[in-house]
């Protein structure tokens, strides 16, 4: 049942990304092009998503557990450390460079565009690279 929910959430999430323009690199880059031909549209995605989810979250957090599991799996870290800042900065540079973040990248794989396939493969290799780096230097 939990798997079915995950699958359905994936479909919905994907439709939301596609309808909002998040899967189009020029729309995303246009949103980040604030000093050029700024395309403000994508603010709507964040506003829409946060409006819905912040209400649901603040209602549901009063419950002991979710409907299908014994507990919530929410992040517990509080520290505003160099990893958070540096990671977000590196991610931002990559996001702006190609106009793709992980979700839209996965969704766009179905277009068969070799550029997208290369993006996702590089991302996955880099994630493995990070895990190696983390084991060697960060633990």
């Amino acid at each position: 049942m939990k798997g079915l929910i995950s699958f359905a959430v994936g479909i919905l999430f994907s439709l939301g990304l596609g309808l909002s323009g998040m899967t189009q690199t020029h729309v995303v880059k246009g949103f980040l092009d604030v000093f050029g031909d700024w395309n403000l549209n994508l603010i709507g995605v964040m506003v829409g998503a946060i409006a819905v989810h912040s209400i649901v979250y603040h209602i549901i957090k009063r419950k002991e557990s979710p409907l299908l599991d014994s507990k919530f799996y929410l992040p517990t870290k509080k520290d505003l450390d160099w990893k958070l800042m540096t990671g977000a900065a590196i991610f931002g540079l990559g996001w702006g460079w190609a106009g793709i973040c992980p979700g839209p990248g996965i969704v766009s794989l179905v277009s068969g565009d070799p550029n997208i396939i290369v993006f996702i493969l590089s991302m996955v290799v880099s994630m493995f690279g990070f895990k190696f780096f983390e084991k060697k230097f960060l633990s």
Partner: protein, 138 residues
Amino acid sequence: MTTALIGGAIIGIAVSLMLVFNGRVTGISGIISGVLSPKKYDTSWRILFLLGLLSGGIVLRFIEPQAFQNESHNMSIYDYAFAGILVGFGTLLGNGCTSGHGVCGISRFSVRSILATIVFISFGILSVLIFKALRGGI
């Protein structure tokens, strides 16, 4: 703006269902990372979610084909590779991407996520600025 708002609301509903039923944060980079170093009883939901993303993509090909039309013609395959490397490393080091920090975290009013989102949007703006200076367009 309206379609972006509707798309955003659908994303909000999706991540809310994940939280209400499964108690999970829908952070795409974290979900992928978990598949790459699988743990028992913690992998199938991730794979099913990613399969859901792909299935949704197939639906989009029929109902919204323009979702896959890109008009940023100044990028070569090396730009995509370069960006992928930064996105992979950065999201794991910073514990999240647009979905995990930008949607789920901000909705929880998490200071970490609000800060991370400000930082990645700022560096995204900087990146587009550098890209345009080098290539003459987005």
